[in-house]
């Protein structure tokens, strides 16, 4: 038995720099959770009114954990921390979890390294929904969850629904058909969005602000509305890590490995789409996180979805919280700019690294 373990544990070739990390997903998770904690405190403490980190931690300990700590801060500081910055940072983390998990799901399901959460038309659907909400002259808001958010959510889900239905018509393989249909429907919706922006007049700025994405509008109610969808979808996908692993060698191979392919494909698509729709509804369109984070994690620990999904969630949360902090410190620039500036060069590096094709 000892010789067998050695055969697995001591690869004779390609023992690269990341070898130690690859076999220690738990250590990576602990490191990631540390980063999440640091970005939580830093994200709450920093801003136009700085709250000292020790006060931030004490306020959080008092309000969230019910610890009996002496009050050394002003009521204004507590309001800033609890009512303004905490929901914002938590929303950033939630969206980071959602987009990273949805990205890992779609990449695994569609077996395409270039897939991201928006690949099946979600982005254009949400954008068009938001634009329509701005254009119609009715204003209603229920629990701060305005018409724009609701329309964006519905638009994203409708877009995926249409893509899924249309992809089932015709003779193409299901996955190829999904990708191509997603591209076609996405293009059509993007045209509708461009037209809506052209017609929007004074509403243009609001539509544009939504498309750039950000967390400045984050509130407790919108966080509470989105969290069950994102966390629930995450759990549904995580429970199917085995299925995503089976898809590594293709749908036919997955079926031979004991996976009910049509059923599991539909469940994963629905869960990934719901998570994405919840994210775009609260934060607008934020790029690169969902594409890049799963790839980084795979570079570190390999393609096993059991490790990729939770680590993507952790590092996605840390990255978006940190990116939002950076965006605020630089002067409320759109967070999409920050993620793109960080993500695009990294992605170029990744593309150069990728060798000839994806064949086994």
């Amino acid at each position: 038995m000892a010789t067998r373990d050695q055969a697995l544990a001591v690869p004779k070739v390609h023992a690269g720099r990341f070898e130690a990390l690859r076999r220690r997903p738990v250590a990576l998770a602990v490191l990631g959770l540390g980063l999440v904690a640091v970005s939580l405190v830093a994200g709450i403490a920093a801003g136009s009114v700085a709250v000292p980190p020790e006060d931030t931690i004490a306020i959080l300990g008092r309000r969230l954990l019910g610890l009996d700590l002496p009050v050394t801060w002003t009521p204004a500081a507590e309001t800033i921390v609890v009512d303004l910055r905490l929901p914002r940072v938590l929303t950033a983390m939630l969206v980071g979890i959602g987009l990273s998990v949805a990205g890992a799901t779609f990449q695994g399901l569609l077996r395409n390294p270039l897939a991201d959460p928006y690949v099946l038309g979600t982005a254009s659907g949400a954008g068009l929904g938001a634009a329509i909400a701005v254009l119609i002259p009715v204003r209603i808001a229920i629990f701060d969850f305005g018409l724009l958010h609701a329309f964006a959510f519905v638009g994203a889900l409708l877009a995926v629904g249409v893509v899924y239905r249309l992809s089932r018509v015709g003779g193409l393989a299901p996955l190829t058909s999904l990708l191509l249909t997603g591209y076609a429907v996405g293009s059509l919706l993007a045209a509708g969005l461009a037209m809506a922006m052209y017609l929007s007049g004074a509403g243009l700025r609001q539509i544009f602000g939504y498309l750039l994405g950000g967390f400045d509008a984050a509130t407790w109610p919108s966080l509470v509305a989105a969290a069950p969808l994102v966390i629930g979808g995450f759990i549904v996908v995580l429970a199917r890590a085995r299925v995503l692993n089976g898809f590594l060698l293709g749908e036919e191979a997955a079926a031979h490995l004991g996976i009910d392919v049509p059923r599991q494909r539909l469940i994963l698509l629905a869960a990934g789409s719901l998570v994405t729709a919840a994210c775009v509804a609260v934060s607008g369109l934020i790029g690169f996180v969902g594409l890049v984070i799963p790839h980084v994690v795979r570079l570190l620990v390999g393609p096993n979805a059991r490790a990729v999904l939770p680590l993507s969630a952790i590092y996605g949360a840390a990255l978006l919280a940190a990116a939002d902090l950076l965006a605020r410190l630089v002067g409320e620039i759109p967070i999409g700019v920050v993620t793109a500036v960080v993500g695009a060069p990294f992605f170029l590096f990744l593309l150069r690294r990728t060798r000839t094709g994806y064949e086994l």
Binding site: L8, V13, H14, P113, R240, G250, L257, I259, R355
Partner: protein, 278 residues
């Protein structure tokens, strides 16, 4: 065969002592695969016509035929991925349509011609996929699974490839990795879809020797779709020839690959493909 392989072979029964193998010993009766009067049509075209085929447990059968004869369709029917329009398909004595996918995968491992990986995946990670039908959906692989993966790696002779990205291997090595995956699956029946089609001569013989070895030493039932008549005749004692969806011959190589039949079914002179001696 290296000393390590021989040692692994000796240790194999222990590694394979999982519920699937134990169950197979009880539930797989004389016929591991049984097709009764099976017909399949795609869009009006009949791909399989009234096929009757029995493969006994522990048997090694090669399935031959020209392109479009229905060989791959037959494999998909056996695996339950395609429901025949008529007829019954039994896997280990039970109708394949009544088994869920995991139950089928614990009885039957299928080695594809080739597979495409979207992400960098190490050899041992590919082999590990063979344990998916045995894995608990929530707890993941256990010690028994890890032992089966290590045993499969040694059994197929992949030890030197551990740690390599499977996408960077030669075609022959990749095929061995896919066989390793099927071995890790520890199913009593192994089906292969043209496992040597992209390989050079040396790797063809290597893969065929491995298949023969899995059958003779480990008792795995083998049904292999093959293109190469010479290899099939050399490594298999029972050949089944499919032509236009019908089984036209079933028996030992000398009988099945009679010159007149090779000429009629494959449309080639048997002397050209080196079968004249049979």
């Amino acid at each position: 065969m290296t000393a390590a392989n021989a040692a692994a072979a000796n240790a194999d029964p222990a590694a394979n002592a999982d519920p699937a193998s134990a169950a197979s010993a009880e539930t797989v009766p004389a016929a591991a695969i049984s097709l009764r009067d099976v017909s399949v049509a795609y869009g009006g075209r009949r791909v399989l016509r009234n096929v009757d085929l029995d493969v006994a447990a522990g048997e090694r059968v090669a399935l031959l035929g020209p392109n479009g004869a229905g060989k791959s369709t037959l494999l998909r029917v056996v695996a339950g991925l395609l429901v025949p329009d008529e007829g019954d398909v039994l896997l280990g004595g039970e109708p394949v349509g009544g088994l869920d996918r995991s139950a089928v995968a614990r009885r039957l491992a299928v080695v594809p011609q080739q597979a495409v990986l979207p992400f960098a995946t190490r050899v041992e990670e590919v082999v590990a996929l063979g344990r998916l039908p045995h894995e608990d959906p929530f707890r993941g692989p256990r010690d028994g699974d890890r032992a089966a993966i290590a045993a499969a790696i040694e059994r197929v002779g992949l030890t030197d490839l551990v740690g390599r990205d499977a996408r960077e291997l030669s075609l022959g090595e990749r095929q061995l990795v896919l066989v390793g995956l099927a071995v890790a699956q520890a199913a009593p029946i192994l089906a292969l879809d043209e496992p040597t089609v992209h390989l050079d001569l040396r790797h063809r013989v290597e893969v065929m020797q491995l298949i023969r070895d899995l059958n003779e030493r480990d008792g795995t039932t083998v049904l292999a779709v093959l293109h190469d008549l010479g290899l099939a005749a050399h490594f298999f004692s029972r050949l089944v020839v499919l032509d236009a969806g019908r089984i036209v011959a079933d028996g030992p190589p000398a009988e099945v690959l009679a010159p007149a039949r090779v000429q009629a079914v494959f449309g080639v002179d048997p002397a050209i493909v080196g079968l004249a001696a049979l």
